[in-house]
Amino acid sequence: MTHRSAKDPAPVLALRGISKSFGAVRALRDVSLDLFPGEVHALAGENGAGKSTLIKTLAGVHRPDSGQVLLDGEPVTFHGPADARDAGIAVIYQEPTLFPDLSIAENIFMGRQPRRALGRIDHRATRTATAALMHRLGVELDPDRPARGLSIADQQIVEIAKALSFDARVLIMDEPTAALTGSEVARLFGVVRALREQGAAVLFISHRLEEIFRICERVTTLRDGALIAGEPLAGMTEEDLVRRMVGRDLDELYPKQHVEAGEVALSVRRLTREGVFTDVSFDVRCGEIVGMAGLVGAGRTEVARTVFGVDRWDAGEVEVAGRALVNGAPSAAMAAGLALVPEDRRAQGLVMGMSIERNIGLTGLRATRRAGLMDRGAERSRSLDWAVRLQVKYARIADAVSTLSGGNQQKVVLAKWLATGPAVLIVDEPTRGIDVGTKAEVHRLLSALAADGVAVLMISSDLPEILGMADRVLVMHEGRLTAEIPRSDATEETVMAAATGRAAA
């Protein structure tokens, strides 16, 4: 995989001694990087290490404070994203950047639509090209539907399609797979390999290390904004990579404690939301971690939202500790001891302009209130406590959440809900975008919660996480629960078979 010919080609794009600070935060210090044609290059590092900042420097979004960007060996200055695009650099940003009111086709070709005579847009060609891209990625998304309401995974797909449509020489992808499951990832990697054959240079970021080893030839590791190493992946092990990222050896990634399951805490009976999922029944007992697996779009997130009352159900019932929940009432669900850590952190989990402290404090308004007034002191100490437990990396706890790196925002959402001390915790993709070190920490937390008697329902697209953490695995396929597999029988094969509908269990 890693045989670049003896006469190395020159890098298409290179960074030399790049530094970038945001106020007192030194996001990048003296970082260099070479991207070669026909090579997939991984960028690794913990949350807040500076990966996204580096990418935005390459993309012309940020101007480096010092250092140079070299294109074909020549120093260039990108004055904006348009300059980088014109230089043949396509970027998938960590957070989807779609126009909700416009169609998928328009989203993909905005600013460079195919033209007819007199500079008019060729709508038909735009649509055809979009359909072709979707086909290449192996997904069925209607080019004419608006981007509003797309699931995170579908948004990610549209972003990937957009980047592919550039036919760029350099393709940069910031956690493109974070929301995807195995089959979509395989499809994406197929496309990336084809691009590599055609001589494109690819920069790839992922917190799933096995993906890095699957597709990349070379890796650059950052820690706290500093360059640790840029080296070929051949001969490296996951442990080597983790050590470079974290600076120490890592403890067990899946520290699952065995807990004797207690009473049924959450009971879902024949739950149906028309056209979304049908006849879903399951129990989660105190002390149990139940994993929920399935392909993107199988309806897992929708089940979670409905149980919590964000969406209404059309039939069925939900009981928490033997008491029936009211349909469509999240506040009642919260009062009954239910907590939901949502999938879409930007849209549903956080108030971006508000401080870290207030965001974590939001769910505790009830607990930290004194005589009807907010007790800011109590809120602060509670927030600090959770921020520290989850190793959120921030400059000051009063900083706006929007200044945090993607993974650290995710941690704030987790903290906010864990702080409520729930009896039943539903987590939707708890470690998406979270680095390996913290992933282990989150797993330890979930395991400890279960040991304290909390019932945990964990939805995850990360199969190893499901297998490593769950006492039981529920599998959904096209809106139905197709399998329930005990920990002892759960393997990659059995879960995938049920998720793709190949086996009835």
């Binding site: 993309a59 904006g80 994203p81 348009a82 695009r85 970027v91 940003y93 950047t97 779609l98 126009f99 909700p100 009111d101 416009l102 169609s103 328009e106 905005m110 600013g111 460079r112 639509q113 033209r115 500079g119 008019r120 847009i121 038909r124 649509r127 055809t128 359909a131 072709a132 086909h135 290449r136 192996g138 997904v139 069925e140 998304l141 209607d142 080019p143 004419d144 539907r145 608006p146 509003r148 309401g149 797309l150 699931s151 995974a153 579908d154 797909i157 089959s183 979509e184 499809r187 056209g275 979304v276 999922f277 392909l295 779009g297 199988a298 309806g299 929708e302 096209e478 809106g479 793709t500």
Partner: protein, 346 residues
Amino acid sequence: MTVTTTEPAPVAPIPASSSTRLVDRVFKMRELAIFVLLLAILALTQLGNSAFLSEQGIKDLLLNATILVLVATGQALVVITRNVDLSVGSTLGISAFAAGTYLQSGGHPVVAVVLAVLLGVGFGLLNGLLVSLGQVPALVVTLGTLYIIRGIDSIWVGSRQITAADLPDGFVDFGSAGISAVPWLALIALAVLVSTAYYLRHFGSGRELYALGSNPEAARLAGIPVRRRILLAYTFCGALAGLAGALYLARFGNVDSGTGSGYELTVVSAVVVGGVVFTGGSGTVYGAALGALLLTSVNSVLPALGVSSVWVLAINGILLILAIAVDRIVALRVASALKKRNARHG
């Protein structure tokens, strides 16, 4: 989504799926609903007062609507970019007076119209520059320019007044003449409306206005020249307000320092009633024009039915709130329909 096996690339035409048709339908419905409401109001009024839809009656209605349609078209462009221009009333007033003064001193009508438009372009540029460069919300900036322009207008005009007698006959006649019931002014407005709609639909920069209203941050990342597009929208809006000023002069032949004051609220109402969402990114100029027609009709209908005109404002307000409520409900419905489609993709 389903994982499909490798097949040859699909060929056009792509069948429109039901989700698209649904969404399309909803938005067409939005405009259709206003249209039906409009027809209903006109029909009811006609029943109550058979003189209402005489040739002259229709002509008056169209004449009254023309100016609002023009300004609303410009305003729609600005609102689509998630901004607003509150200074249109002031711009209309001052350009009407400028055109009038010029005609009074013996100027050529065509030059007078051009002058009014250029004045509008000037104020539009000013608004656009302030909004796109300063980090101040458009609402505040254009509230400022509303007063500034009105202030300049008052100082310049003082207690003077321009009346039809001061204007060339041809100009005033043009203001009320037309082909049978259709006034020339209405045809001008229609031409502007149709070409603006075509531009918004079929040109890259037109689509970019929607993009940047829909998600400004994403627009920046997509390399859209955000400032230039905002400047464009404001300039266009100013130009139409200027043009509307000239047409106002032709239609009423009467301008003073208070002309057009308070007009911005009517314009914004028309745009919002017409389905151009205040948070940007969606709506059409046809919708805005229909909104303008609806508000104008309500204004003409009440007197025709012998209802006191004090009700007009209240009814405008009710329409506005209704429109916003309908938008909200429709948006929720569409969102949940799309979610269901998502899931079915499997």
